[in-house]
């Protein structure tokens, strides 16, 4: 934890009120995001008790689906199918493609807009995408149960959302605990910040004392795992529903259903309203400069999904193959590095955090040697590499050979040539013109920060799995041994032929934008 974060946490703890961590909002917020809150039956992978969703902050206008006995297939899928039909209706308009000219000639099809789904906490995001989405995405294939097409589509869309949510800096699938904790510091631990109820209390304040209120609020975390005490109160109704089902007693079933529904509605209503309140807290904060560009990246990637949807329901492999896994890791790592730098340059409070961590060097310019010339690697000729000599005015942890950028202009990049307790010399290797244009005077203060994400083009991924990453004699799909084996993740077992025949999402089309498509 950085010093700045410690101070903010101490300030929040003392004043019993959250403190703003950033000067700007670092996530995109759509005009009408779809808010989804859910409770799942404990102990089950993907058996929703109830899902409430809608784009209006008024919970009375939100939709609710309830499964009175989620362990019963009919009951469960009645709820899931109803949700899926509405979800597909929400996604529908975003799948519309428009044709726009490409840079460098030609045309490409892009989605007109990107859907945004907002959930109360990270656990709900993982539940909705990785568990519910995954459990639906193979239905209708092979020996599996038939479900409406909308349910299959929802499985595919949720799987895309789940995978895309791993991209650092994305705003398509937001968990409000994560977003609020990024923008506000509280006096509680980051584990406790995962409870949206208490996190909101720190930010919004509560009538009376905060600490006693937190004790009560900790009882509710807004899903997807229900509070055991609350869930226990449902048990008699769930049981009555099953009894009614067995006895073919429709009146008993309906009564039980309505009791489960009203209980679940009450619980989900709180979570639904809280999620909308969280959006309401973030919305007025001015967006950081980089938000638009990152939303554009979201749009490119969504467009790739939308284009695949033109050819039918996109299918997802059970596991990434070696090429896709390696590409995803490299892509997410470089996105994380780029995000770190973009946020630091967008937001003085984030830059201050890096400075407090010792990753900046602050000093007054003693002299700039404009005439220094050096041969750059791979080059033949000596080129100008100005040497900036600073009298350090603040402590730094930067050492020799570290790459730094000027905080005023990130094009100005250099390497620390020497440092002692009082001075530092930086050789400016890139952005010399920007430095000249800034006409920095002797005695002026300069601040350099140690940030160096890879900015060039990434190498192309290999077009086939090399011999080191597959068994020597077979070209079978990796994961064959697990078919019918012990690691049952709930997805249906398919024969190798069936698996092989699935078009795997992630194959790059020739007209895909380089670098933005997984």
């Amino acid at each position: 934890m950085s010093l700045v974060d410690l101070l903010m946490a101490a300030e929040a703890a003392q004043s019993h009120a959250a403190v703003r961590r950033t000067a700007y909002r670092h996530q995109h917020l759509s005009a009408k995001p779809l808010v989804v809150v859910a409770y799942n039956l404990s102990g089950e992978a993907a058996a929703p008790l109830g899902i409430m969703y809608g784009t209006e902050s008024d919970a009375e206008r939100a939709r609710l689906v309830v499964a009175a006995e989620p362990r019963n297939r009919e009951s469960r899928f009645e709820a899931i199918n109803a949700f899926a039909a509405d979800f597909v209706e929400f996604i529908g308009p975003y799948l519309q493609l428009t044709t726009v000219p490409k840079k460098g000639g030609g045309f490409r099809q892009v989605a007109s807009d990107v859907p945004q789904v907002v959930v109360p906490n990270r656990a709900t995001r993982s539940y909705l995408g990785s568990r519910l989405g995954r459990s639906l995405r193979y239905l209708g294939l092979g020996e599996t149960h038939e479900v409406p097409e909308a349910t299959q589509w929802t499985g595919a869309h949720l799987s895309w959302f789940a995978e895309h949510s791993q991209l650092p800096g994305q705003s398509v699938f937001l968990a409000m605990t994560e977003s609020l904790a990024q923008h506000f510091a509280t006096g509680q631990s980051s584990l406790e910040d995962e409870n949206l109820a208490t996190l909101l209390a720190w930010i919004e304040g509560v009538p009376g004392g905060l600490l006693p209120a937190l004790e009560l609020l900790e009882e509710s975390a807004y899903g997807p795992v229900p509070n055991p005490r609350w869930e226990a109160t449902l048990a008699p109704f769930v049981k009555a529903y099953t009894e009614g089902l067995r006895a073919d007693d429709e009146a008993k079933m309906n009564l039980a259903f309505s009791r489960v529904e009203s209980e679940t509605r009450q619980a989900l209503k709180e979570a639904y309203e809280a999620t909308h309140r969280a959006i309401g807290i973030l919305r007025p904060i001015a967006p950081a400069a980089g938000v638009t560009g990152r939303w554009q990246t979201d749009k490119y990637e969504w467009s790739a999904h939308a284009r695949r949807c033109q050819r039918g329901i996109p299918r997802f492999a059970r596991r990434h193959d070696p090429l896709r896994a390696a590409r995803a890791l490299q892509r997410w790592t470089s996105a994380a590095d780029a995000l770190e730098m973009q946020q630091a340059f967008d937001d003085p409070l984030i830059m201050a955090r890096l400075d407090a961590d010792g990753r900046c060097a602050t000093g007054d310019v003693l002299a700039i040697d404009w005439n220094n010339r050096e041969v750059k690697p791979g080059g033949k000729n000596r080129t100008k590499v100005p040497l900036v000599e600073l009298a350090l005015t603040a402590p730094t942890r930067l050492l020799r050979d570290e790459i730094v950028r000027w905080t005023e202009d990130q094009r100005v990049k250099g390497v620390v040539r020497s440092v002692d307790s009082a001075s530092m010399t930086i050789a400016v290797t890139n952005g010399m013109k920007a430095l000249v244009d800034a006409s920095v005077a002797t005695g002026a203060e300069m601040l350099f920060v140690n940030l160096n994400p890879w900015e060039g083009r990434d190498p192309w991924a290999p077009d086939e799995v090399p011999w080191t990453h597959r068994a020597p004699t077979t070209s079978d799909l990796a994961g064959e041994s697990s078919l019918g084996g012990g690691d049952d993740d709930g997805s249906p077992d398919m024969t190798l032929d069936e698996l092989g025949a699935l078009p795997i999402v992630g194959v790059v089309d020739p007209d895909d934008e380089p670098g933005v498509v997984l």
Partner: protein, 455 residues
């Protein structure tokens, strides 16, 4: 002494074995060499390169390294040992120039960023980082065809991540991989839970993936550490290389650290113990502290100062007559960057230029060696024992950099922390166990250090 194999004969023997195996290896096969710290990995790589290039005058041999520093090191030792081999150092198109390379350039060594240049076509050995080779492969792929090399050598293969190997393996039909399995593993900054249990998980080590798919590969084990003194080889071998033990290549009498005149201070006692036994464990009183424990930082700085003030003479098998210990022969190693900074600060307070010696993290001193190493024990003053602090690779790097003596500064209570702190890491299906186990290795090390305790 005569029955003891010497460096030259062991190196020659393993060079012959590796070259033989390479000759027998078919396409899609690899020869793997595992080496403990200071076992002469780079010498082996250099000798194998020499034999291969002299057997086949038309051979162009790629060498893959993990970092630019490692690439520079290999080029320099090739130049020193076999100045007649024509080498190209292939570099990226961005980044700062390495002055060592620029100085070494001349007839027989070209530096270029272009794999299609005539320099590369004419060379016998092409040295570049894995990242650069990935770009070479990518460019050839964009131009329509990948021109494969028959054979490549990968240095420090255990520090390579699986995705890095995936990016370049298509360029090479056969591989020779050399590495130290006990060192720090490569890491990822993003959540890799998605790929846990997959043999080809991109966040695994490259050697983990290669061996999972090619279980028939039996690695050659270099048997001797030429760096570690006999006092250190035993514990390092036992704690970090339980399945491939190794010995020191020297006898105790061959290594000697003679200190200048001292007095009866606690720091002198520490140095005396280290000089006599090869180890000293300074155990400060038990206390929970913040990460940058100033007491430990100050103590490390004081011991360094005392060592440099007293001066010392280093005698070993290379310097039979002895030579003066320089500041650059001394390193202070810590787990965290802020601890490094704390030590540097304390050194400045004592009037020592922290740049005159090496003060660094374990990650940055991998592959380096010094005469005397001072270690900030990763568990000192902590209330938790996380995977990071228990990682056996980190401890192994810290305890295996020295040729003469190692001084560890910690706090008492570390043994209790090890016993009491519960392991809360998630367990993933199909994910192989890591060996050696960090907890066990740390316990063995603490046990060993307790025999060299100085107040």
């Amino acid at each position: 002494m005569s029955d003891r194999p010497d460096f030259v004969s062991i190196n020659g023997e393993f060079t012959r074995r590796v070259v033989d195996d390479l000759g027998k290896a078919a396409r899609g096969e690899a020869v793997l060499v595992e080496a403990p710290p200071g076992a002469g990995k780079s010498s082996l790589t250099v000798s194998v390169s020499n034999v291969l290039t002299s057997e086949d005058a038309r051979l162009r041999l790629p060498i893959v390294t993990q970092t630019n520093e490692q690439a520079d090191d290999i080029v320099l030792s090739l130049r020193r040992r076999y100045p007649n081999i024509r080498i190209v150092r292939l570099v990226g198109t961005s980044g700062a120039p390495s002055s060592a390379m620029l100085d070494a350039a001349g007839p027989g060594l070209a530096i270029t960023s272009d794999h299609d240049s005539t320099d590369v076509q004419d060379a016998q050995v092409v040295v570049a980082t894995a990242r650069k080779w990935e770009f070479v492969r990518s460019k050839q792929q964009q131009n329509g065809s990948v021109r494969k090399y028959d054979l490549a050598l990968i240095d420090e293969a255990y520090q390579m991540r699986s995705d890095a190997l995936l990016g370049i393996a298509g360029l090479f039909d056969r591989l020779m991989c050399v590495g130290d399995p006990g060192q720090l593993e490569p890491f990822t900054t993003v959540d890799d839970a998605l790929w846990k249990g997959l043999q080809y998980s991109p966040s695994r080590t490259a050697m983990g993936t290669l061996r999972a798919f090619h279980p028939e590969i039996a690695p050659h084990q270099l048997p001797t550490s030429w760096r570690l003194p006999p006092s250190a080889a035993g514990i390092v071998s036992e704690a970090f290389y339980p399945y491939s033990s190794f010995d020191a290549g020297t006898e105790a009498w061959q290594r000697e650290l003679t200190l200048g005149a001292g007095a009866a201070s606690p720091d002198d006692e520490v140095l005396g113990r280290a000089a006599a036994d090869g180890w000293a464990y300074v155990e400060l009183p038990e206390r929970l502290t913040i990460r940058t424990d100033t007491e430990i930082a100050a103590r490390l700085a004081r011991i360094v100062k005392r060592l440099l003030t007293r001066g010392a003479v280093v005698v070993d098998e290379l310097e039979l007559g002895g030579r003066k210990l320089e500041a650059s022969d001394v390193a202070v190693v810590a787990a965290h960057n802020d601890q490094v900074q704390a030590v540097r600060f304390e050194l400045i307070q004592l009037g020592i230029d922290p740049n005159s010696l090496v003060v660094s993290t374990a990650n940055k001193v991998q592959g380096r060696e010094y005469e005397v190493v001072l270690v900030w024990h990763p568990l000192a003053g902590r209330r938790d024992a996380t995977t990071f602090h228990l990682e056996s690779g980190r401890m192994c790097v810290m305890l295996s950099r020295h040729r003469q003596a190692c001084v560890v500064v910690g706090r008492s209570g570390a043994d209790r922390l090890l016993a009491e702190f519960p392991d809360a890491d998630p367990i993933f299906l199909d994910e192989p166990e890591k060996f050696p186990d960090g907890w066990e290795a740390n316990s063995l090390v603490l046990d060993h250090l307790s025999g060299f305790r100085v107040a």
